[in-house]
């Protein structure tokens, strides 16, 4: 190497090195508790992120106004993991090491969550999942520093099978995103449906890459075998794109589609959303009748001038559980808090809930209903005749959980 070039290179290395030193030296203020949010900010998860952030911000604002936790204020640090597990894992590390975050908050994508939970385990930092919900997080990838306040893929898949098994349809086609979430969801649906309705046939399962929003090559295949009903494991932007494109392909004339009808998706789909589809939501504000929820919805609407989506509610609930653990442990040390997580009771917006000791899964179920127009909400459809499917009815038994956990990789 020439001398000149070498000097330039050396200078560059020095600059970079001192830059990293600067970054790490100014990040150790003692009067704040930092929460690292590994978020799927961009892509099909973007609307979810906005809602999650709004819910978290509101909680943090409230608790800081009330004096914080043990005199320390909470502070949120956000990183965009772009739905990519490798990026998410790196950012989880960065949040812990250079941002000095004491707690982690999970993302939207289950694939990213599975990567992030490993990092949390490695550094013994508590992480909670409010949106990403692979059942594996509580079974084969279980680690005690995590807890989940969102109905997991098993609860959802089996829950929808419970709901749909009461319908007359015999021939189903399934479609979903080709990654952990979609597979878990549809596999749970299939196995529960087989138990409850042996006469039901699954004609075909169509897998679509996560994030793909052009369904032109998939919808003809989905309909080719003439299903009577369709269960779709999409979510968010991908689901609303699917519904919008399915309409001119005449899908809804042939078969109703069931899926996750959360508020953000219903808002994004607007008047393109067909009426009379059976689906479910994780935390529909309009159907949960608790005083906490009523107060929350009112405050949220005043602050943001829009209704809170499921994601805002569950992120908020996650913070309730996290701070409850701090109170119960009388500490903000994760080592102390992890001891009280199992069995922790917390007063969520969805009502009294607890975290099951064996898998740190909160007993949160799903809410199923039928899409309909509502005079109260002009811009979007909601679900009517909402029925709660409690977690206890469909979650894995403690024996099943233990068996899966013992197979941990």
């Amino acid at each position: 190497m020439e001398r000149g070039k070498f000097k330039v290179l050396l200078a560059l290395v020095l600059i970079l090195f001192s830059a990293t030193l600067l970054v790490s030296s100014n990040a150790s203020a003692a009067d704040v508790i930092k929460l690292g949010f590994i978020a799927d900010v961009s892509g099909i998860g973007a609307p979810f992120y906005k809602s999650q952030k709004a819910g978290l911000d509101m909680f943090i604002e409230e608790i800081n106004a009330a004096g914080g936790i043990k005199g320390k204020k909470l502070e949120l640090v956000v990183r965009d993991s772009q739905l990519k597990p490798d990026i998410g894992a790196n950012q989880a590390r960065e949040l812990i090491l250079s941002e000095k975050c004491e707690f982690l908050i999970g993302p939207t994508s289950s694939a990213v969550a599975l990567a992030a939970t490993k990092v949390a385990k490695e550094f013994k930092k508590i992480i909670f999942f409010h949106t990403s919900n692979a059942e594996a997080l509580t079974t084969t990838a279980f680690q005690p520093y995590m807890f989940q306040v969102v109905p997991n893929t098993g609860i959802e898949g089996r829950g929808m099978a419970v709901v749909l098994s009461k319908k007359p349809f015999k021939k189903y086609s399934l479609i979903g995103p080709d990654y952990a979430y979609g597979h878990d969801q549809l596999n749970s649906f299939k196995s529960e449906m087989a138990k409850r309705r042996p006469d039901v046939v699954i004609l075909d399962t169509v897998w679509v890459k996560l994030g793909e929003s052009n369904f032109s090559t998939f919808i003809p295949t989905l309909m080719a075998k003439k299903p009577e009903a369709i269960d779709a494991a999409f979510w968010g932007g991908q689901l609303s794109a699917f519904i919008k494109q399915a309409k001119p392909y005449g899908v809804f004339k042939e078969a109703p589609v069931s899926s996750l009808f959360d508020l953000d998706m219903l808002r994004a789909t607007g008047s393109d959303m067909p009426e009379g589809l059976t689906g479910y939501a994780r935390a529909p504000f309009y159907a949960i009748d608790t005083p906490q929820m009523k107060a929350f919805v009112k405050k949220y609407y005043e602050k943001y001038k829009e209704w809170p989506a499921d994601w805002a509610i569950m992120a908020y609930d996650g913070m309730i559980a996290l701070t409850e653990a701090m109170k119960k442990a009388d500490s903000t040390e994760s080592e102390q808090m992890v001891k009280v997580l199992g069995g922790l009771k917390f007063n969520s917006l969805r009502g009294e809930r607890y975290i099951r000791a064996e898998d740190h899964m909160a007993n949160v179920g799903i809410y199923s209903g039928v899409t309909a127009k509502s005079p109260d909400f002009k811009e979007f459809l909601i679900m009517k005749d909402v029925q709660a499917v409690p977690a206890e009815e469909v979650w894995l038994s403690v024996e099943e959980v233990k068996k899966l956990q013992s197979e941990q990789k």
Binding site: S42, G43, I44, T205, G211, F218, P220, T221, P248, Y249
Partner: protein, 294 residues
Amino acid sequence: MTWQLFVFMLINGLCQGMLLFIIASGLSLVFGVLRVINFAHGSLYMIGAFLAYSLSTVLAGESLLGFLILLMVVPPAIALIGFVLEVSLFRRVYRQEHLLQLLLTYALVLILDDLVRVIWGGEPRSVTRPELLAGSVDIFGMALPSYNVFILLVGPLIALGLWFLLYRTRTGNIIRAAVSYPDTLGALGVNVSWVMTSTFMLGCWLAGFGGVLTAGLSNIDLGMGMQTIIECFAVVVIGGLGSVGGALLGSLIIGTGLTFFQLPLGRWALVFPYALMALVLVVRPWGFFGKPER
């Protein structure tokens, strides 16, 4: 498979192919004349889609006229961006080695993609289809979205237009001459740098046109440029770099292939374009209609 379903799938696949052709032909054309593989082609296509989105919110309304305005206004805007890029950047690297060109266009991808992130944010968007194209067309009792039929009709028009331009006009003669004999062309007194600028602009125009069509077809988001540029590479490798006819053939093969293989192969259908690309690279590295490098 019944023959009705076969025909339906074929038409559906051709729609996909046509959209891909509109984008890939621009990439191929630019390579043919400029000998630069423009990685940023996908980013320009994405900017076209987002511009269409922004403009559609201003135009407000689901009239066919509004949509036609998008198709008239956005592609020239992208061509204008192309003009600036060609004059300020691309012109400097034509005689450089491929690695340098690659670095330049890849840097452009990063810059343009971040620009889109800054301006439009990470949220997926879409353009509401005009009412006239929002319904469906009946094909043997199966519904095909009218919008897809629209793409199927526009695609050949573009192909025909390109063919006419390249083979029936003086400009086309010069462009084709620039592909085969750039030095002779300069010696004959033709302003070669002008030919290059305008070809680059035409390529960008096509990217913009594809962007507008995509905005009405599916969601548009930050990842769309990268995803499409990779598919376009498969198309031009199969069809032959620099050949517009090759791009048409490659696009139609991939479009119909993806539709048909979905049924028997499921998730593995995604592999098809790349498997075919690999096969072509082994058997006929210059593609169906390309010429071996001299």
